[in-house]
């Protein structure tokens, strides 16, 4: 997983609350067998509408989604994070996230930053006045800079550390690689072994 710290890019003001994971990615896309390539699935139903914000030319290559409260509630599907990531989003700003979504985001390198509803309103207003404007996020200083104004955001310390270090679950475990190797050396010989297809 890539380290996350400074993010600079186009921010999309999505004036909706309670965006559940079924809206982020409908169930029909869950039959796929890959972990990437879900950019076409993101907000698939809403994107049918030509007026939907992500269909506007100013937002062709966005990096940050600025959304209302209770983003990512509902089904636990990790695909919701994959779809946002594959579309190019590096961060989502919201007053409140669904718990499972927030956990999944942290594991996949997507920054879920929590700001007050008042701050989100202010950012929306600025972004809507200048469609397609880029903003800056610093995870290290936990700040979002929109034009002249800088806001602070909340994120739990553990997730912040993981994102700054670029640790996914596997990388975290592999920090114990020496202990795993030592453990493997003392495993008894009678334990089961398969016959690999290649060595």
């Amino acid at each position: 997983m890539e380290k996350v710290n400074h993010i600079h890019g186009v921010a999309v003001p999505l004036r909706r609350s309670n965006v559940d994971t079924d809206q982020i990615i409908p169930a029909v896309f869950l039959k796929r067998i890959t972990k990437t390539g879900y950019d076409d699935a993101l907000f698939a139903a809403w994107r049918q509408d030509p007026a939907f914000i992500l269909n506007q030319p100013e937002y062709a290559s966005p990096s940050v989604l600025v959304t209302g409260p209770d983003f990512g509630t509902g089904s636990s599907r990790e695909h919701a994070v994959w779809a946002l990531r594959d579309f190019g989003f590096k961060a989502v700003l919201s007053p409140k996230f669904g718990d499972i979504f927030r956990g999944n985001a942290g594991k996949q390198g997507l920054l879920a930053a929590q700001l007050s509803e008042q701050d989100i309103e202010e950012i929306w207003a600025t972004l809507e006045a200048r469609p397609g404007m880029a903003i800056d996020i610093s995870l290290e200083s936990q700040t979002v800079t929109v034009g002249e104004k800088t806001f602070t955001f909340d994120i739990d310390e553990y997730t912040r550390w993981r994102l700054l270090e670029g640790y996914d679950d596997i990388a975290l475990t592999l920090r114990n690689e020496a202990a795993i190797t030592d453990f493997e050396k003392q495993r008894p010989n009678w334990m089961p072994k398969t016959i690999p297809a290649k060595a």
Binding site: M1, K31, I33, T34, K35, T36, E78, K107, D168, D169, I170, L172, T173, L174, N176, A179, I180, D182, F183, E184, Q186, R187, P188, N189, W190, M191, P192, K193, T194, I195, P196, A197, K198, A199
Partner: protein, 505 residues
């Protein structure tokens, strides 16, 4: 009669708290009496978690199938990671495989894509794969034990909730999600929070016609589909000791239907006898060392469980489910319950909904219920002993008119053995379909499905709405009840066949 209580809080957690910071691989609790589950766990801790963090647990055997693995392999590819231990990993095709015309291309696109993805991934990463047509292909939980890979004292995982099956050997075995599959492929470990322990004591002697399946259905009806949540179950007592390995696998298989991720049986001579001589079983000095270790695994005298359940095997009868979860079951001699008599409001509503879906009326004798189909198969009941039990009842008889009977062996190896014993002939003479190996109608990911509204007596593990096909109605039963039902056309046990005989029917 039946007693059931939960004793204290989290015994395991209490013990752990005295050992915070212990990073070694030594047994933190050496000397104190421990349960089977605690022993296996302790011997697989690589790093003990501190301050509520999970323990890092080593995984001895990783079983892989086509449904839950494609994205895990894709994740490895994305991060440029190899499979850490190819020699502890094995794959088979089971959920999507057809059970007829297995030499033809799979028609359904999603099924075909999952199978093709597994073949491609196995070849690319170097994982041993037993494909459709291979003599070792079959349901992943039949294949592992059959190859001698499943053995006491090891940890087993698979992206499938019925991995609990392997606990029958005294292994710690449980199902995992796709992200965890990727984690195990990459590291051969899992970060896991400790569990609580529950003893399921089954003492007494089963009457002829009553089987392991009836024990586990009775257990689930007793503790409920959530009763085992957070626990590892240990099945104990004389009735469990008397069971074959197949019977123990049937019981451990359905631990997940009681909400428990894992169920275990302490290894004994029955276990060693089953493992010995199988293709991957230890040999020579390794065998002796293994058995010596396995003999240390049974729960110590004086060890305490966080909860205990007692079941009297003498009183058990053939069991059957009437509803849409595996806990909604009663003795076959009973009647469809009246929801109005259920005091728990949540359960009463669930029963009302279930009866509506199942199209059953309160008070109807279970034995009056006619079926359209009988399914004999699944990871719960598709081993050679299950087929022997089933054919012992149907031998020389004809199936009831209008009832479709499908027999699906758990593995290609089971199919071959059944044919060597002539069981296929008994099945075909009976009027039943003799199929190739796979999960089949247990969950209908392949074409083996019921029509909407059809009612099936099934030896599988889940009677959920739509499980065996949209609108399908499932009654979970043992192989013996499946056989008697196929003969009589109504839910029946071998006891009813005896009664028919004495009546001259």
């Amino acid at each position: 009669m039946l007693r059931f209580w939960f004793s204290c809080g989290c015994f395991h957690g209490t013990k752990r708290s005295t050992n915070l910071g212990d990073m070694s691989n030594t047994h933190a609790t050496a000397g104190a009496p421990r349960t089977l589950a605690e022993k296996v766990w302790d011997d697989h801790v690589i790093v003990r978690g501190e301050n509520g963090q999970p323990d890092l647990i080593y995984i001895d055997l990783h079983l892989v199938h086509e449904v839950t693995s494609p994205q895990a392999f894709d994740g490895l590819r994305l991060a440029d990671r190899p499979v850490h231990r190819l020699d502890l990993t094995i794959a088979t095709e089971d959920h999507n495989t057809p059970t007829i015309n297995i030499d033809r291309e799979i028609a359904e696109p999603t099924s075909r894509a999952q199978i093709e993805a597994l073949r491609k991934n196995a070849a690319e990463f170097g994982v041993r794969l037993h494909s459709l047509g291979d003599a070792e292909q079959g349901i992943v939980h039949v294949v592992g034990p059959q190859l001698g890979l499943t053995m006491p004292g090891i940890t087993v995982v698979c992206g499938d909730s019925h991995t609990s099956t392997h606990g029958a050997f005294g292994a710690m075995a449980f199902g995992i999600g796709t992200s965890e599959v990727e984690h195990v492929l990459a590291t051969q470990t899992l970060p896991l929070k400790p569990f609580k322990t529950m003893a399921i004591n089954v003492d007494g002697t089963l009457r002829p016609g009553v089987t392991a399946k009836d024990i586990i259905l009775a257990v689930i009806a007793k503790i409920g589909t959530g009763g085992g949540q957070g626990y590892v179950l240990e099945y104990r007592g004389s009735a469990i000791r008397d069971l074959s390995m197949e019977g123990r696998m049937t019981i451990c298989n359905m631990s997940i239907e009681a909400g428990a991720r894992a169920g275990m049986v302490a290894p004994d001579e029955t276990t060693y006898e089953y493992v010995k001589g199988r293709p991957h079983a230890p040999q020579g000095a390794d065998w002796d060392e293994a058995v010596a270790y396995w003999k240390t695994l049974p729960t110590d005298e004086g060890a305490t469980f966080d909860a205990e359940v007692f079941i009297n095997a003498d009183e058990l009868e053939p069991f059957v489910t009437w509803g849409t979860n595996p806990g909604q079951g009663v003795s076959l001699s009973g009647r469809v319950p009246n929801p109005a008599e259920i005091t728990d409001e949540h359960e009463r509503h669930a029963a009302e909904r279930a009866l509506e879906y199942m199209d059953l009326n309160p008070g109807t004798p279970l034995k009056d219920i006619e079926v359209d189909a009988v399914f004999m198969g699944s990871c719960t009941n598709s081993r050679i002993e299950d087929l022997r039990a089933f054919t012992s009842i149907i031998k020389g008889k004809k199936k009831a008119d209008g009832v479709r009977v499908m027999v699906v062996p758990g593995s290609a190896r089971v199919r071959l053995q059944a044919e060597a014993e002539g069981l296929d002939k008994i099945i075909k003479d009976f009027g039943a379909e003799w199929r190739f190996a796979g999960c089949s109608m247990c969950l209908g990911m392949n074409p083996d499905q019921l029509e909407p509204g059809e009612r099936c007596a099934s030896t599988s593990n889940r009677n959920f709405e739509g499980r065996q096909g949209s609108g399908s109605r499932t009654h979970l039963v043992s192989p013996l009840v499946a056989a008697a039902t196929a003969i009589r056309g109504t839910l029946s046990s071998p006891w009813d066949l005896e009664a028919d005989k004495s009546k001259g029917a």
